[in-house]
Symmetry: C2
Subunit: 409 residues, 2 copies
């Protein structure tokens, strides 16, 4: 059961002019499930993307990077679940390319205009022939209203589909933004997460798409973690079809640019948070906010030390205010000159530790009250400066172990 995550609201998944989606069952790993998704993009659509920093980046990620670098217009995305096509060497690259070629041929474009994405088990050969066999049906099924189908079509250990949309007025027109994501385990994105797809019909200078995708990833997907494992396949794709009729946005610093970024960030954060809320075995949604750092980087280190500590995460699972575990994680986060006498720790509104030790006014019943909530904010003040950083994570439960001990069987 995901944490406080309502199912996607179909009325909020706005069709994006210029973007059609087809989803079919191709039998890639399991029967009777949607596992093959194509995005067909009108001519003129611009695409930006951010990918995993894992050195074992999967074959489809390598192919995506090469196709984007080629500089042609991207006209289709091809996404399969059930197999990650990672750790598959030269054969994996050849299979990823062959699926792009097959789709490109059917669309009358070049293979370099197709971006491939895969998610699922690592180090098993991609059944590319099943993907190719499903393409005609996927193209035939393509339509503008299939965002929810696509969210279902990219799931692996996710328990619910993740989709979200927003609309905003720009220069007298209504601009729509709709996105989907997937992911529940192997989540500590380090560029973006596996997988997020966000489309808008906004008119925006094509050169802005790539920096915008990176900026969005940095502010959303790159701040979540379930288990600290950075996937081989993380990908975030941002598509703009330029069909909303708004005045073209050529700077993110303009009023319209800022409004569009705020809308995109709202969607990206909802999708990123949905991954944490549906994190494998999650029973709690935890915001870890670190203030008072000398710089953002050290705030981030402390936030991740807390968010990755199995002891902290099991304490949240148990609703046990065993909060010394949080102090211990702050202490080993790697700030060599940290003065622990300056540390303040809060759990929501409860002031747990002051000047590095237990707050004399702290009552364990108060900590217990907050720990029982399904959403909790941990706030640490390092007392060293004015930088801050926030990350989002979930607890470590018995079900996390059950899910990952059973995943392939």
């Amino acid at each position: 059961m995901p944490v406080d995550l309502p199912p996607p609201n179909p009325a909020q998944l706005f069709p994006i002019a210029g973007v059609r989606i087809g989803v079919v069952q191709a039998g890639i790993r399991k029967a009777d499930r949607k596992d093959l998704t194509v995005f067909l993009l009108d001519e003129g659509t611009s695409v930006g993307a951010a990918f995993t920093a894992n050195r074992f980046c999967a074959a489809p990620v390598q192919v995506c990077q090469a196709h984007l670098a080629a500089g042609g217009q991207i006209r289709a995305l091809l996404i399969n679940t059930g197999n990650a096509n990672a750790g598959t060497g030269a054969d994996g690259l050849a299979r990823a390319r062959s699926t792009c070629e097959a789709l490109a041929q059917r669309l009358g474009v070049s293979a370099q205009q197709v971006l491939p994405f895969s998610t699922g088990v690592i180090m098993e050969p991609l059944p590319s022939e099943r993907i190719v066999a499903g393409l005609d049906a996927a193209i035939a099924a393509a339509g503008p209203a299939h965002w929810l189908d696509a969210a279902q079509g990219i799931m692996t250990t996710d328990t619910v589909p993740k989709a979200y949309g927003a609309q905003l007025p720009l220069s007298g027109r209504t601009v729509s933004i709709t996105g989907i994501s997937k992911g529940a385990g192997m989540i500590r994105p380090n560029m973006a997460t596996m997988l997020g797809f966000i489309a808008t019909d906004a008119c925006i200078a094509p050169a802005l798409l790539q920096p915008l995708a990176r900026k969005l990833a940095q502010a959303s997907f790159n701040r979540i973690t379930v288990d600290g494992d950075t996937s081989t396949n993380d990908s975030l794709v941002l598509m703009a079809s330029h069909q909303a009729g708004n005045l073209i946005i050529d700077s993110l610093d303009s009023a319209d640019g800022q409004a569009l970024y705020a809308g995109l960030l709202e969607v990206a954060l909802k999708l990123a948070h949905a991954i944490v809320r549906d994190g494998e075995g999650a029973t709690k949604f935890i915001t870890v906010q670190v203030d008072g750092g000398a710089n953002t980087e050290e705030c981030s280190r402390v936030a991740y030390a807390i968010a990755h500590s199995p002891l902290v995460k099991t304490a949240f699972f148990a609703s046990d205010p065993n909060l010394g575990r949080i102090l211990a994680a702050v202490g080993y986060a790697g700030i060599a000159d940290l003065d622990t006498d300056g540390i303040e720790l809060f759990l929501d509104d409860v002031h747990v530790a002051t000047r590095g030790g237990r707050n004399p006014a702290y009552q364990e019943a108060e900590g217990q009250r907050v720990m029982r909530q399904s959403e909790i904010r941990v706030r640490v003040d390092l007392g060293r400066g004015h930088a801050s950083h926030t990350v989002w994570t979930c607890d470590l439960s018995l079900d996390y172990v059950r899910i990952n001990a059973d995943y392939r069987s």
Copy 2:
């Protein structure tokens, strides 16, 4: 149930001339359990120690460092379980000092000649009055044959006591080495682990004790991890009573120095491995060996990325050869210029991956066979150079979560 860890053999726990140990029940946290241990050291004994790198190092660790820095002879160790006296601020320091003073007074030495150690719950006030109340009984009980009692007296979530001894001939005399350790969770020592105490009667230049303690920690306790959480209280203490009558060792590079180091390392490794074998919820003992690195540091990063990955650890728990998870961990270990085409992966004798992808000759049944074993060696060759590093860890099981969700209740 610890992994392949026989109970300590009392016949192998050699008394160390000059070292007496007293263990009593002081009711520090729970009734009816040994929780207070004193080591009484003859005049002339030398002591070296290594401590946690956690910036939130506990009050007793701070007091130990100050007392060692004062340069006087250490004449006693005072160890309590049930309370870590960490995250306790100025009050914790005062309480740690007060227990040293109480013991020193009874022994006719100065407080700076006593080293205090605490283990247990973090961020709760140390019940120092109960410790002081137990001192007379502990001193009265002190004797040379109580190593096993001490191993029991320092346990927290450990399921078995950890003790080991060795003897070796040096210049015609028999030198004895005996040690104890504890620890099962919050184990990723970064100087030494909470807690290891090793004593020898060897005659050795006192100035060598401190570098020897550090070197031993680096080669043993600093290479184990259960959950990646570096404790606030890690401490390794090495004591030499100089009573064996061997010719004094004034260099570790001499033949006798090398022989003594080998004996000490044997004891330290057994004690460190015992902590992993009894790691919280452990069902497997995993050796992670990384070869072919450009330097030891990058081998260590890769080894810890594998050893800390919750996905890798749950796969071991499930005996599931889902070995792409190991490649993914290698990929995110932080080697920016890693060429994954050079990676080889072995599971014991089974060659799983070659040149960054699945070995065509690999049969999953072979991987399955090794994964079912209780002891497994993961070997990664990075293909970049000649450096190596090895760490030891355990799997992540349902019981790890159960234990840490229940620890305080």
